[in-house]
Amino acid sequence: MLLDWHRQMTLIRQFEETCHQLYEAKRITGVYMHLYSGHEASGVGSMAALRKSDHVITAYRDHGIALILGMDPKAVMAEMMGKKTGSSGGKGGSMHLASKDHNFWGGYAIVGGHLPLAAGIALEARYRGKDDVTMTYVGDGATNNGYFHESLNMSAIWDLPVVWIIENNGYGMGTEVERASGQIELHRKAEAYGIKSFGRVDAQNALEVYAVASKAVDYARRQGPAVIEHVTYRYRGHGVSDKQYDARDDMSAELKEWMETREPIKILRDCIESKHGDVGETLAQHEAEAKAIVADAVKFAEASDLPSTYDDLLRNTYVGSELVYKTESSVGAGID
């Protein structure tokens, strides 16, 4: 399992750093792309606690989630470039990845907007008496939005099987948690809803993440909503158009420290080695694989076509309705 985690995390890092380079090189365009570099253990460790029939939903920092679920890196990279072959046909881009086959419901761009969707998805499970869990990722900054409040409360009163994972990477864009939230231990917000909190986890350590997530998922399956706070860090700033690291030395110093002392891939590697001894070769192989996979993905994406017709533009605004409508019948008695 640990080796597989390493493979996943290596792939994510490779994918994200490549996206960064492609954006700098203007081979990926647009204004919004938020990378998961630094967050890898948060996603990998927590999603390892899920089973196939469970559900996943997140915000715009969604590349890592998509890859962990097993979405094809080709289709994901093609989506970055807005290609027809992209996982969302080029309509959604970086912020709107999703995969029906993986119960991955997306990828949303309005802060907090996906949280009530998570409640609704979990409601379907309760409604049908299934015990599938909806794993929901939400940022620290988003916890200050009304959507967070209303959604967590709804999950509480309806005992919905949601695991609310607060990915606390210290910032909402340029705002530190301390300046945005009256409660800085974000997991304690669960108290306001009577939701069980599984506390705060060092999310640079995939094993710790997994241990807590397993408990929370199990609890959600059997009882109701759970909250976990993942303490992590973003390596590439808020998003690709974020130039704050150049602007703020304190941030780049902080970043340096995180990368040196709390690098998730290194932490995982260390504990793999402490368990299995020297696996250097396998791990090196993962990196080689990751490079190859991402290189292929880029090739595939760049070779694909952009949607270009009016038909491409209009398609899927609505479902074509298959209803057969009867004609109106004759009219009689009054009714209010």
Binding site: G89, L117, E124
Partner: protein, 321 residues
């Protein structure tokens, strides 16, 4: 109209186990407007769900439940409170299919009581259907009588797209004819308007409560030998403009009637399309009758001054005859 809506909803819940109701006071309270009266007893708390006063969550949870395969009918107690759900409605329900290029569908219905004129005061006095209909990706239905409400709501529930379905508060208590042998599959196609009265002298275009005023005005005008044709668009999105054009070709004159505020609204859209597409048939300027352009007051006489009515429609028609 209340009874027809209640019946349609009840029959659809009986027909399809996936259809459920959620909203403020829909269950134990029996619905603020009594549309879900008896539902809790019949369908139980699993399918008739009271929510907290959380419009953002109501709007968004309906999307999630629909994505996952249910058919939520989410009620906003009044459309005024749906302002708090504009993002959930216009940015999520209406766009979730497009974001992912058709990967998902969101078969849901938002129901909301709409309209004013009962001293509800400014923040509770809106008929803002055109504002919501501005956004593509969702349909907007606004019935003007019992039978239409019945057929339109059934269609809305069975359709695979999100629909905002508004119900004029003033029409709830109004009786209107229903067929004795009403077919439980009586469905009114989305986007299909209806001629509520035929006439060759002037076209009155309206929806929901506006149709009432238009029909009253038509009766008054008939006394002076003026025959008005009343076009009930029924849906603000998609718009059945062809029906309006065909009527206008005959009458060459038009007055548009709505309960909403006047600016950037229904009257503007219809008048603009008409002159753009029917220019050669225009014998007179197209007139608009809507609310006065003010936040609406509590005090009853000045509230009535602000409210459209048949007399205002008649006056507008006379200006262009």
């Amino acid at each position: 109209m209340r009874e027809a809506i209640r019946r349609a909803l009840q029959e659809e819940m009986r027909r399809d186990e996936d259809v459920f109701v959620m909203g403020e006071e829909v269950a134990y309270w029996q619905g603020t407007h009594r549309v879900t009266r008896g539902f809790l007893e019949e369908f139980g708390a699993r399918r008739v769900r009271d929510t907290p006063i959380s419009e953002m969550a109501i709007g968004g949870a309906a999307v999630g439940a629909a994505l996952a395969g249910l058919r939520p009918v989410a009620e906003f107690m009044t459309i005024n409170f749906a302002f708090l759900a504009l993002d959930a409605i216009a940015n999520h329900a209406a766009k979730v299919r497009y974001f992912f290029d058709g990967m998902f569908k969101a078969p849901l219905v938002y129901r909301a009581a709409s309209g004013w004129g009962n001293q509800a005061t400014a923040s509770h006095s809106h008929a803002p259907e055109p504002i919501f209909a501005h956004f593509p990706g969702i349909y907007v239905g606004c019935p003007s009588n019992s039978l239409d409400a019945y057929g339109m709501l059934k269609t809305s529930i069975r359709d695979d797209n999100p629909v905002l379905f508004t119900e004029s508060i003033a029409l709830y208590p109004k009786p209107s004819p229903m067929p004795e042998d009403l077919d439980a599959d009586y469905l009114i196609p989305i986007g299909k308007g209806d001629i509520k009265r035929e006439g060759a002298d002037v076209t009155l275009v309206a929806y929901a409560r506006g149709v009432d005023w238009a029909l009253q005005a038509a009766r008054i005008l008939a006394r002076d030998g003026v025959e008005a044709e009343v076009v009930d668009l029924r849906w603000l999105r998609p718009l059945d403009m062809q029906l309006v054009y065909d009527s206008f070709k005959k009458t060459n004159r038009c007055v548009i009637v709505e309960e909403s505020l006047p600016l950037y609204s229904f009257g503007g859209e219809i008048a603009a399309s008409l002159q753009e597409n029917m220019f050669d048939y225009m014998d007179a300027p197209i007139k608009r009758v809507a609310a006065e352009d003010v936040p609406l007051p509590y005090s009853k006489d000045i509230e009535l001054l602000a409210l459209p009515d048949a007399q205002k429609v008649v006056a507008a028609v006379k200006e262009i005859l």
